[in-house]
Amino acid sequence: MILQVAFIYFAAVTVFSALMVITRKNPVHCALYMLAVFTHVAGLFVLLDAEFVAAVQVLVYAGAILVLFLFVIMLFRGDGMKDKARFVSGWPIVAPIAIALMGLLMSILMHSGFSGAQGSYTIEAVRSAGNSQVIGMALYTDYLFPFEIASVILLVAMVGAIVLAKKKAD
């Protein structure tokens, strides 16, 4: 019961804040509503027994990425965007299509069971070993190769940011 109430709270606030993110005029308000989205999604992760992901969500998204967003908005004096149209001109046509597509996705998802094969990391296995430990183990054994590729991706992102944004080109 309490879990259901918590879920409804987190889900409702997430959806509401997400709508606010795209409808507010002041970009700083948008960013702050996004903060609400991130923290409440973290709440949903906790409900799913994924404490580690929840913590990462708060640290990385709410902590690092959002601060970056705010920095960029302030640097570019985002209030100039207040007078601009909020949505692309074709939105009255596009929005119903998007909503219809969402309805289709939701009806398919609600009518199909997800009783898929259970991997080796069942809820019991995760609980007995501890959340972060299981993730650490998986990351450095089964997922070692993807983990290394992900680190190369970060290197490329770093190089790319420097190449594109460095002030003085030699």
Partner: protein
């Protein structure tokens, strides 16, 4: 507890070599003086050659490494060889171009190698996780390369457009992957197929996830209706980068596309075949028809690349060892002919937009007989006229479609090829029939002409002796089936 064996490390040794060369080039770019930076391009090519040597040495090895995340098999080997060729020719084309555009940096070569490594991971990914990360590694490098001309607004626009739409399509692909993980409880391609085999899944959700993944891959191969980004990005990106991304990433996207659908989703083949057939028809139709009205040769080649994705998808629809190997052969041939065509655009360019209009080719036969002849070969090949390789590629796909009962699809392909001859041959016409607008000479350049000569030789050689390539593709595909 899984352990990593030396066999696992040996399996990824080509990737390691490419990544190490990329990092070496990055670091050396900081120290090497400007007038010697072209050597970094040759160093990158040497790195690719070393990796190709390793891959070729392991061509008969089949080894699943890293807990089923990575697979080395004939199929992956074939595509890796295609990537080495594509990246090496693109690098050779780039060397003089980047100097002219004043973007000669270690990062340029490094990013091409990083993109190549991403493509290799895509071809070898036997888990959706690895495939996805390979796609991201490749795509991120290409986004940056597309925006490498920092002062050109067109280049900025291309990079931003490609990045935003690419991120969006990655999101759609990921949504499909998440759904299929929810349905089957695994991301391993073989385990997914094994689970679907048991029959205890809900079909609508599986079809939905298949469609989402198809949309993601459709974007990467630039198939209609996911092609909107192609003309603008191809036009705005530095020409040498456009040359690379029109062949390498496209072949890599096909490599991953084919492996994921054939290995993981054979049970619903009837469902995806019909969608891919529709995409193939649309791509051939829109790509070829819109290409006719283009005046910018980069845009024309962009629409032509959409059409060629359509031809390749006809082979995909035909399926079976014959159909899939015809796609593989086609992609290799496409690398040579399209890089050749783009190489000639690079050879003509003088910075800015010059050399990009089809009119800039006017009277090329009088200015430089050799260059005009090379362009003629590449245009004939793209149009699919014998005795060039383009004909062999199309003929193989045509026969595969015919043999598996897709007569109507094969017929559409023939008709659209005939339409395509119109705009390819117009370039030839402009080169040979029109008077030159000015008397600018092409500056001879060793690396560029080496690349063009190799591409032209390959186009003619494969066109006249196709059996070697076809056998190689046929042998390579057996692991996938």
């Amino acid at each position: 507890m899984p352990t990593i064996s030396t066999a696992d490390l040996a399996a990824i040794s080509p990737e390691i070599i490419v990544l190490c060369s990329a990092m070496a080039v990055l670091i050396m770019g900081l120290f090497v003086k400007k007038e010697w930076r072209f050597l970094l391009g040759y160093l990158s090519v040497a790195g690719l050659a070393a990796a190709a040597d390793r891959t070729w040495a392991m061509r008969s090895v089949v080894h699943g490494a890293f807990s089923g995340m990575f697979i080395l098999d004939g199929y992956a080997t074939y595509f890796k060889m295609v990537f080495y060729v594509a990246a090496a020719i693109a690098l050779l084309i780039s060397i003089s171009y980047v100097r002219m555009e004043n973007i000669e940096k270690g990062e340029y070569y490094g990013l091409i190698l990083f993109a190549t490594a991403g493509m290799m991971v895509m071809a070898s990914g036997s888990d959706l996780m690895t495939v996805y990360l390979g796609i991201e590694l490749m795509a991120l490098s290409i986004y940056v390369l597309a925006g490498f001309l920092r002062k050109s607004l067109r280049s900025n626009e291309a990079a931003l457009k490609y990045f935003l739409l690419g991120a969006f399509s990655s999101g759609i692909l990921l949504y499909g992957i998440a759904l299929i993980y929810g349905i089957t409880g695994t991301t391993n391609l073989h385990d997914i197929a094994a689970f679907i085999q048991t029959g205890t899944y809900s079909k609508p959700a599986l079809i939905l996830s298949m469609i989402l993944m198809l949309a993601g891959f459709g974007f990467k191969v630039a198939a209609v209706p996911f092609h909107m980004w192609t003309p603008d990005v191809y036009e705005g990106a530095p020409t040498s980068v456009t040359a690379f991304m029109s062949v390498g990433p496209k072949a890599a996207a096909f490599a991953a596309f084919l492996r994921v659908f054939i290995t993981a989703l054979p049970q619903i083949q009837a469902d995806w075949t019909i969608i891919i057939a529709a995409l193939a028809i649309l791509s051939m139709l829109i790509g070829n028809v819109v290409a006719i009205s283009q005046t910018n040769i980069k845009r024309m080649l962009a629409y032509s690349s959409i059409a060629h994705a359509g031809y390749a998808m006809v082979g995909f629809v035909a399926g079976g060892a014959e159909g899939i190997s015809s796609v593989m052969t086609y992609l290799l041939i496409y690398v040579f002919m399209n890089l050749g065509a783009f190489g000639m655009v690079v050879a003509l360019s003088r910075g800015g937009m010059t050399g990009e209009r089809i009119e800039d080719f006017a009277g090329l036969s009088k200015k430089n007989k050799m260059a005009a002849l090379l362009m003629l070969i590449f245009m004939f090949s793209l149009a699919g006229i014998p005795p060039t390789a383009g004909f062999i590629g199309k003929f193989n796909i045509f026969m595969a479609a015919l043999n598996s009962g897709f007569l109507w699809l094969a017929l559409i392909m023939v008709v659209m090829s005939a339409v395509s001859a119109f705009f390819y041959l117009r370039v030839v016409l402009v080169m040979y029939m029109k008077e030159p607008e000015d008397d600018r000479k092409l500056t001879p350049n060793l690396s560029m002409y080496t690349a063009m000569a190799v591409a032209a030789y390959a186009v003619l050689y494969i066109g006249m002796n196709p059996s070697g390539v076809i056998d190689f593709a046929m042998k390579s595909v057996s692991g996938l089936m």
